[in-house]
């Protein structure tokens, strides 16, 4: 029997609903509803999931919040679903709406999805790491809530119609007798004036993908008509009565401290309201944005000298010499011995620069701080964690803080969305009025949490047949700050300037032995090793002798997740290196990969991409490669993203002008397998965007700095792939697997692009590029150096 509704919402949530135009409590009192809730004890343990499954499919946030509803079905048959995973341009809002419509058997337009609002939605942590598809589209969370609700409705209908549940079907918002569809009752009639609370049922059965009619189809994005016509409300468009505008004044160099601020330098300027200072944080508030910009530019602030920066040109060597925190992903213990007895040893070193998120719109937030009652409209990927850290920034309890997700420009990771939320909150607190802040382009670019620089030494031992018998990886990458999480506002610039420290860095040598299973979340291990930690082997390959040692060192700049963090850098090193080995052995790059891969799904994406591209089996480079003019080549790369979250292979064809050093990528064939496809057009859009973003990062993007500060502060000093550039045709080949778990689909394609380009360049020229980006200068230098020797 289904227990009566227990209203477990917080008063804050009720207020939020009331202000949104409907009060859930009153609504329920008035008209009844069926609500699916989960227990406060924790979803993973309640569902009895194994540890690994809980990590991959768990709520992906902090269970225990009082906001425990996933779905509410009202007496008018309308469905409201609540999700902690939000839209960033990846199509997730539409896909989640499809999911609810599918599991509940209701038309798409009867579903209202409410996403990422600390007063309304479950805490699902951060929308990141291609984790939304696994978290909400498998057998837990939102998907399970949909199945639970449908089964509950069928059960209520069974009682009402006096027909066993086995003889009933849920179709288009009704429950029908399968053999006699004229006998039916609508969801609205079933709910009637009553109140039902249904606990998330771990045994509820999801519909099999073969029966889907809404999910799995190319439903068009629900938000695009408003986006294409300028009606869509971005966080930049939020306007609150009485709202003022803030502008930040960042230090002139890294490590500089504020000595003094002369407020009289701006008093009397039109619209000027206040200078806000908190340790090294400086902001100016004015009535209008242009006035805030003028005042910030004129404000006299004195800063101490900065702490200085290591030279950019030798930064990778600087990392090697820095105190490090060491970690082993895998260590079979026999690697050095294998090299001693090897028939042949191949070595190479790969370098990757710092890169930035570089969102098209600089970050923006609106905050309204009234004592301990706070509302922040933010494009953060992490509304619930941001609630805690905003409270820390303001020195108030988190209970009164509400973060309302409002979409920003594509972020691709931790861009300026969190830091600008703090900027707005600090300034609003100081003036007692709502304040909107949009960062200047240079303030965003100079102080981002950059994507990681990397240097990787690769080494393999080969036997007499050319088979890899040992793989030895050693990599260095920098860290400072990162996502603020729930307790580290100092992980981003505003928190740091206002007095919070970034997450502490503690060197550790030697690395402890790996334990707790094979975790290839950063793709530090190549696909070709067995990945054996203890008795379990989680790798995709056959190479049993394996050692993967990482050194994390302190970064002079803030760092943070940028689409495919570390995984792209490592995959560049692994997949180019695999190509180098194959070339030395005069083996075909596809055949050589397959010789070392045992995971059938990774093998399948490799062969599918190769076949679709018309891959000609032969060693690289092309024997006909000329030394001048334009030459062409093709290359392949593959990955199992994060070691367990999406298969992808890319075959790239390109042209190289050997006189100018310009690479033009002509065609990318990308095969993808991320389990059951929720929206094929959505995935294609991700494959196309991910691949072209990969082209941009491979050919153009690199953060530059001098002795004092970052000098990449606009689109002239940081080079993006403009729409007018020559770009390849991206052909996506989607492999739909209906009997396996849903995996991530947003970060796989970008992960393999750099290596595929590097390998195609080698095929075309016979010269190996081992440092990103492949700028014309670097290309020409590599061609010259190779041919001089």
């Amino acid at each position: 029997m289904i227990p009566p509704m227990v209203d477990s919402m917080t008063s804050d949530a009720r207020d939020a609903l009331a202000s949104a135009g409907f009060s859930r409590r009153d609504f329920l009192k008035r008209s009844g509803a069926l609500i699916v809730t989960f227990g406060v004890a924790g979803v993973a343990s309640e569902l009895g999931l194994a540890r690994g499954v809980a990590l991959a499919q768990g709520i992906n946030g902090t269970p225990g919040t009082q906001l425990d509803s996933w779905i509410a079905i009202a007496a008018d048959g309308r469905v409201t679903a609540y999700t902690g995973k939000c839209e960033f341009g990846q199509g997730l809002f539409t896909a989640q709406t499809q999911l609810i419509a599918e599991e509940l058997s209701v038309p798409l337009d009867r579903v209202t999805l409410i996403q990422c609002d600390t007063a309304l939605t479950p805490d699902q942590g951060t929308t990141s790491g291609a984790q939304s598809h696994p978290a909400n589209f498998n057998t837990s969370n939102l998907a399970l809530a949909g199945a639970t609700a449908r089964e509950a409705l069928v059960q209520i209908a069974s009682t009402r119609l006096g027909v066993p549940v086995q003889q009933l079907s849920a179709v288009e918002g009704t429950v029908r007798v399968t053999a006699d569809p004229s006998k039916r009752v609508s969801y609205g009639e079933l709910v009637g004036g009553k109140k039902f609370e249904v606990r998330l049922n771990p045994n509820a059965k999801r519909k099999h993908p073969s029966t889907w009619t809404v999910l799995g189809t190319p439903v068009k994005r629900l938000d695009i008509p408003a986006l294409a016509t300028g009606r869509f409300e971005f966080v930049h468009n939020v306007r609150v009565p009485g709202m003022l505008h803030g502008r930040v004044v960042r230090p002139p160099s890294i490590g500089a401290n504020l000595v003094s601020v002369d407020e009289s330098s701006v008093t009397g300027m039109p619209g000027f309201v206040k200078v806000v200072v908190k340790k090294n944080f400086v902001g100016v508030v004015a009535e209008k944005p242009w006035q805030a910009i003028q005042a910030a530019a004129k404000l006299k602030a004195t800063w101490s000298a900065g702490s200085g920066l290591p030279a950019q040109g030798t930064f990778h060597d600087h990392m090697r010499k820095s105190p490090a925190r060491d970690g082993l992903t895998v260590d079979s213990g026999d690697v050095d011995g294998k090299f001693t007895g090897a028939a042949r040893v191949v070595k190479a070193t790969y370098r990757y620069p710092y890169q930035m998120h570089g969102s098209i719109g600089s970050a923006c937030a609106v905050a309204d701080v009234q004592g301990e009652k706070v509302t922040v409209w933010s494009a953060s990927q992490a509304v619930h964690p941001l609630r805690n850290t905003t409270a820390m920034m303001l020195g108030i309890p988190p209970a009164g803080v509400r973060i309302v997700f409002t979409m920003g420009p594509g972020c691709y990771g931790v861009n300026g969305a969190d830091t600008v939320s703090y900027d707005a909150a600090l300034m609003s607190q100081a003036v007692g009025k709502p304040v909107r802040v949009q960062l200047a382009r240079q303030d965003e670019m100079a102080w981002e949490n950059y994507g990681l620089a990397y240097v990787v030494d690769q080494r393999v031992a080969l036997d007499a047949d050319g088979t890899i018998v040992a793989w030895d990886y050693e990599g260095w990458s920098p860290t400072r700050g990162g996502r603020p999480g729930g307790n580290a506002p100092g992980n981003v610039v505003t928190g740091f300037l206002a007095g919070f420290e970034p997450q502490q860095f503690t060197p550790r040598t030697p690395a402890p032995a790996p334990q707790g299973g094979f975790d290839n979340g950063s793709n530090t291990a190549p696909s070709y090793v067995t990945g054996c930690v203890g008795p379990e082997c989680g790798g995709c390959g056959v190479v049993k002798s394996e050692r993967v040692l990482n050194h994390t060192v302190e970064s002079p700049f803030f760092t943070g997740p940028l689409r495919s963090p570390a995984r792209l850098q490592n995959t560049f090193a692994h997949e180019c290196f695999m190509d180098e080995i194959a070339a030395q052995l005069k083996a075909d790059p596809v055949e050589y990969r397959l010789r070392h891969l045992r995971d059938p799904r990774l093998r399948q994406v490799v062969t599918t991409a190769a076949q679709t591209a018309g891959w000609e089996a032969r060693p690289s480079p092309r024997t006909t490669a000329r030394r001048t003019g334009v030459v062409t080549g093709r290359g392949i790369a593959c990955v199992l993203y994060e070691g367990d979250n999406g298969y992808c292979a890319n075959v790239t064809e390109l042209e190289v002008n050997q006189d100018t050093g310009v690479i033009v990528v002509k065609r990318c064939v990308v095969a993808m397998d991320s389990g059951p496809i929720s929206n094929p057009d959505g995935i294609r859009n991700q494959v196309e965007g991910g691949t072209l973003q990969g082209v941009s990062r491979t050919l153009l993007e690199e953060v530059a700095w001098n002795t004092e500060r970052v000098t990449s502060v606009d689109w002239r000093s940081y080079h993006p792939l403009y729409l007018g550039a020559d770009v390849p045709k991206v052909e996506s080949v989607l492999i739909n697997q209906s009997d396996v778990a849903a995996m991530g689909a947003g970060e796989t394609a970008v992960t393999v692009t750099a290596a595929a380009i590097g390998n195609a360049f080698f095929d075309a020229t016979g010269v190996r590029l081992r440092e990103i980006p492949f700028t014309p200068e670097r290309v020409k230098a590599a061609l010259r150096a190779s041919r001089a020797g």
Partner: protein
């Protein structure tokens, strides 16, 4: 502060602002239009583009004083979700965006191009888009949407 009269999307507005204020701020803050967006403030990305007298203009570096009596059209001036302009409809049909923040600049630049050159070649589209930025890298669909519109819009076609 000075009072200016501006013609935007077929309506006349009176605003009281600092004459040096770029047009973008007047549109997005005084008139609360959502189409033109601040991307860089440096005329390097195109997100703020509006059409003035048929030309694509970067409103982030255009002082409001220089607009005069010219007619300003923004993205919302072309059409609505209920009744999109054929160019906007081409972007909807092709699903030609991801986050959509850049799309104002893309559509307004493409509109000026296609008004001037009804059936542009790929090279002409590339040239018009030389400094328009899409960081989600929806290049392929954006070009497809512009081609779709241009072909249906070309002289001699009725579609």
């Amino acid at each position: 502060m000075s009072v200016f009269t501006l013609k935007v999307n077929g309506r006349t507005h009176s605003v009281d602002v600092d004459p040096a204020t770029p047009l973008l701020y007047v549109l997005s803050d005084d008139l609360q239009l959502r189409g033109p967006k601040f991307g860089c403030g440096l005329a390097q990305c195109g997100a703020c583009t509006v059409n003035i007298s048929g030309r694509a203009v970067r409103s982030c570096v255009t002082p409001v004083t220089t607009v005069g009596n010219a007619e300003v059209t923004t993205l919302e001036g072309l059409g609505s979700p209920e009744n999109p302009h054929p160019l906007q409809k081409a972007f909807i049909d092709e699903q030609a965006m991801q986050c959509g923040f850049c799309i104002n600049g893309v559509i307004m630049t493409a509109k000026a191009l296609c008004d001037r050159t009804p059936n542009p070649s790929d090279a002409q589209i590339q040239q018009a888009m030389a400094t328009v930025l899409c960081r989600c890298a929806a290049h392929q669909r954006i070009f497809q949407a512009i081609r779709r519109y241009a072909q249906s819009n070309a002289p001699g076609r009725t579609a």
